[in-house]
Amino acid sequence: MTLYRRFDAFDRGLHVALMVSFLGLAVSGLPLLFSESVWASRAAHALGGFQAAGMIHRISAVILIGVFLAHLGRVGKRLVIDRDFGVLWGPASMTPQPRDLRDLFNHMSWFLGLGPRPRFDRYTYWEKFDYMAVFWGMGIIGGSGLMLWFPTLFARVVPGWVFNVATLIHGEEALLAVGFIFTVHFFNTHMRPGKFPMDAVIFTGRLTEDELREERADEYDRLRAEGRLEQLAVGPAPAWVLPLARIVAVVVLTVGFAVVALIVLTLLNAPS
C-alpha cells in the first residue's frame, strides 16, 4: 500500500519535544494547583521536592519556548524566504477560515444523523483549534509564567497585583490546557473509534493512501488534480519508529488519564 508524507522529520521532532515538555510542565506544576490534596504532596515529594519540581518546570518551559520559537522560525522562513503564502490562507494553512465553520456545522449534523459525513482538507477545524490553542496558551501561560519566574524584574514595569492575576490565570489556563489535551485531543486524535488506540501519523509522518482518501478527501483530490500526490509518496518508516511510538503513546496516555482522573476526583471531593 502506498504511503504518503504528512509531517516531515522536523515537525515530528517538534511534536515529541512539545509532548515531553508539556508532560514535564503538567506533572511538575499540577501539584501546586492541588496542593491541599494528599496525592499532590506525594507527587511533589516524589519529584524531589518543590525546588526540584520547579527546576523540572523551568527546564520544560524553556524546551517548550524553544519548540514554539522553532516553529515560528519555520513559518517565518516559509513566508520570507520561500515566499509560500499558502501558510497564511488556503487549504494548507492553519488559519481558521469560513470553511472551518461550515465543516463544524456539517460534522455536528453528521453526529446527529442529519447529514453525510463532511469531507475534510489537510487540516480539520479541531486540529486547527488544537494548534491555535497552543498560541493562546503560549501567550497566556508562557507570559504569566515568565512573570512569576522573574517577579522583581517584571515589577519594574508592572505593579505587583499583576502577579496575583498571573498566578491565577497561569493555573487556570494550565488546568484548561491539561484537561483539554488529556481528554479532547486524546479522543479526537487517538482514542476515537477508527483510530483507537492511537494515530501514529505524528510519529511516523506517514499516511496510507486509504487514510488520506477517506479522512482528507479534499486534500487527496486536490493533490491528485495538481499532480503532486506522487511527489509525497514515501517508503515505510524505519522499523523502530512504530513500536517506540506505541510505547510512548501508552505511557503518555496513561499519565494523561491518571492526571485527569486525579483532577476530577479532587474537584468532585472539594468542599464547594
Binding site: 491541599e36 524584574l153 508592572v158 502577579f163 496575583n164 498566578t167 491565577l168 487556570e172
Partner: protein, 402 residues
C-alpha cells in the same frame, strides 16, 4: 521462705523480751533495735512483702540523724514486739507543715481528699527511708531526676486510665520535647522540669486562676526563663487581646504546645505552627492557600514564606501599626528578605488576595470570572462535541463492519 519467717519471729521475740526485762518505764526502741529485724533482706510481713529498710540507704538519707520512732511515733511507747504489720501513717506534716499545707491545696492533695487512692503523696515523689535533699543529684526530686519521678505516674498508662488523668501521657510528650531532651539527654540545669512550670507541692489545675499554667499566667511562667520573648509577646497584638480577656488570643502553649515543645527550626514544627495560625485566622489561611507561598507550604515545604516569616512570631502587630513587619512602610524590607530587589511596585502584590472579593482585588476577581467562563465554555463545547462524535462513530462502525 518459712525458715526465714521463723528467723524473723525469733529475732523479734528476742528484742521484745529484752525490752520487757530491761525497764519499767518504757524506753523507745533505738534505730539499731529496729534494724535488728528490718535489715534482714529476707524478712517479710505475714503477706510476704518485705519489711527491709536498707541501713545504708537510710544512713545516706536526709533523715539519717533521726530516730525511726521520730516518724513512726506509734512505736514510741510500744512494748510488745514484733509490732503489728500495720502501723499508723507517718505524718510528715509534723515537721514539714508548710509543704503539707501546700500539698492539701494542690491537685494531688485534693484528689486524695476526694477519696482518690492513686494521687501522689509525699513518699511517691520523695521516697521513704532514702529521702534525699532535692539538691542531691541522686534525689528523686533533683532537677535531673524529676521528670522520671513524675513519669512513674504520668507516664504510666494504667495509672493514667485508672486515675482519669485527662491530659494523658504527658511524660512521653515531655520526654521528646526540647525541654525534656535538654534535661534527659544534655543534662542542662537551665531547662525546666515539671516543677518549674507546675510548682511542686501546690500543683494546681490549669483551670485554676492561681495556677502557674492557667491561661493568663502562662506568658509569665514561660517568661521566667524566656524573658526577652515574654517582653516581645507582651508588646504584641496577641497579648493585648489576651489582656482584654479574649480567651481565643493565643498564649505560648497554643503555638508551642505545653509538653511537646519542639525546636522551632524543624520543618514539622514550622508546618504545624502555620496550621495553628489558621485555626483562628481562617480567612487569611484560605487566601494564603491560593498563593504560591501557600501552595508550597501546603505541599509540606517550608522554604517559602508562611505566616511568621512575614508577620513575625511573638511581636506581631496590626498592619496599621508602624512597628508591624507588614506595615506599608516596612513591606519592601520584609518582602526583600527573600525577594532580592523587591520594590514599591513589587510589594503591591497581595499575599492574601481573594478572587471572590471584588472590592479588594477587582483585577483578580474579573480574571477569575473570565477564566471560569473560558474553561466552562471550552469543556462544555468540546465535551458535547466528543460525546456526540463518540456515539456517532460507534454507530458508524456497527453499520459498516470491517
Amino acid at each position: 521462705m518459712w525458715t526465714r519467717f521463723g528467723l524473723f519471729c525469733a529475732a523479734a521475740c528476742l528484742v521484745s523480751t529484752a525490752a520487757a526485762a530491761g525497764q519499767s518505764a518504757v524506753k523507745p526502741p533505738a534505730n539499731d533495735d529496729c534494724l535488728a529485724c528490718h535489715s534482714d533482706p529476707a524478712a517479710t510481713r505475714a503477706n510476704r512483702t518485705t519489711i527491709v529498710v536498707d541501713p545504708k540507704a537510710f544512713e545516706a538519707s536526709k533523715h539519717a540523724a533521726m530516730a525511726c520512732v521520730d516518724c513512726h511515733q506509734d512505736l514510741v511507747a510500744l512494748e510488745d514486739f514484733p509490732h503489728p504489720d500495720k502501723l499508723a501513717k507517718v505524718n510528715c506534716a509534723a515537721c514539714h507543715d508548710s509543704a503539707q499545707e501546700k500539698f492539701t491545696q494542690g491537685v494531688h492533695g485534693q484528689a486524695r481528699r476526694n477519696g482518690g487512692t492513686l494521687a501522689a503523696t509525699c513518699v511517691d515523689c520523695h521516697g521513704m527511708h532514702d529521702i534525699k535533699a532535692t539538691a542531691d543529684p541522686t534525689s528523686r526530686t533533683n532537677h535531673q531526676n524529676l521528670p522520671g519521678t513524675c513519669a512513674t505516674c504520668h507516664g504510666n498508662q494504667d495509672i493514667i486510665d485508672r486515675g482519669h488523668i485527662q491530659i494523658g501521657n504527658v511524660a512521653a510528650k515531655y520526654h521528646d520535647s526540647i525541654h525534656g531532651r535538654a534535661i534527659e539527654k544534655s543534662g542542662l540545669a537551665v531547662a525546666p522540669s515539671c516543677v518549674d512550670c507546675h510548682g511542686s507541692h501546690d500543683i494546681k489545675r490549669k483551670t485554676d486562676a492561681t495556677s502557674q499554667v492557667f491561661r493568663a499566667n502562662i506568658p509569665a511562667t514561660c517568661g521566667k526563663c524566656h524573658t526577652g520573648i515574654e517582653q516581645r509577646y507582651d508588646a504584641g497584638v496577641h497579648a493585648a487581646a489576651m489582656k482584654k480577656g479574649d480567651s481565643r488570643a493565643p498564649v505560648c502553649a497554643d503555638c508551642h504546645s505545653a509538653h511537646a515543645i519542639q525546636r522551632v527550626d524543624t520543618d514539622v514544627w514550622r508546618l504545624s505552627v502555620t496550621r495553628e495560625c489558621g485555626t483562628c485566622h481562617v480567612e487569611s489561611m484560605r487566601t494564603f492557600h491560593d498563593t504560591f507561598h501557600g501552595q508550597v507550604t501546603a505541599l509540606g515545604f517550608v522554604r517559602v514564606a508562611a505566616c511568621a516569616d512575614c508577620h513575625g512570631a511573638h511581636d506581631i502587630f496590626p498592619q496599621s501599626d508602624a512597628r508591624s513587619t507588614v506595615s506599608p512602610a516596612r513591606l519592601v524590607q520584609t518582602c526583600g528578605r527573600c525577594h532580592d530587589g523587591a520594590s514599591a511596585s513589587f510589594v503591591q502584590y497581595d499575599p492574601h488576595a481573594d478572587r471572590h472579593d471584588k472590592a479588594r482585588n477587582w483585577s483578580l476577581y474579573f480574571a477569575a470570572q473570565f477564566m471560569n467562563w473560558l474553561l466552562l465554555g471550552v469543556f462544555a463545547f468540546f465535551g458535547l462535541h466528543t460525546v456526540l462524535w463518540l456515539q456517532r462513530a460507534i454507530r458508524a462502525q456497527r453499520e459498516v463492519p470491517r
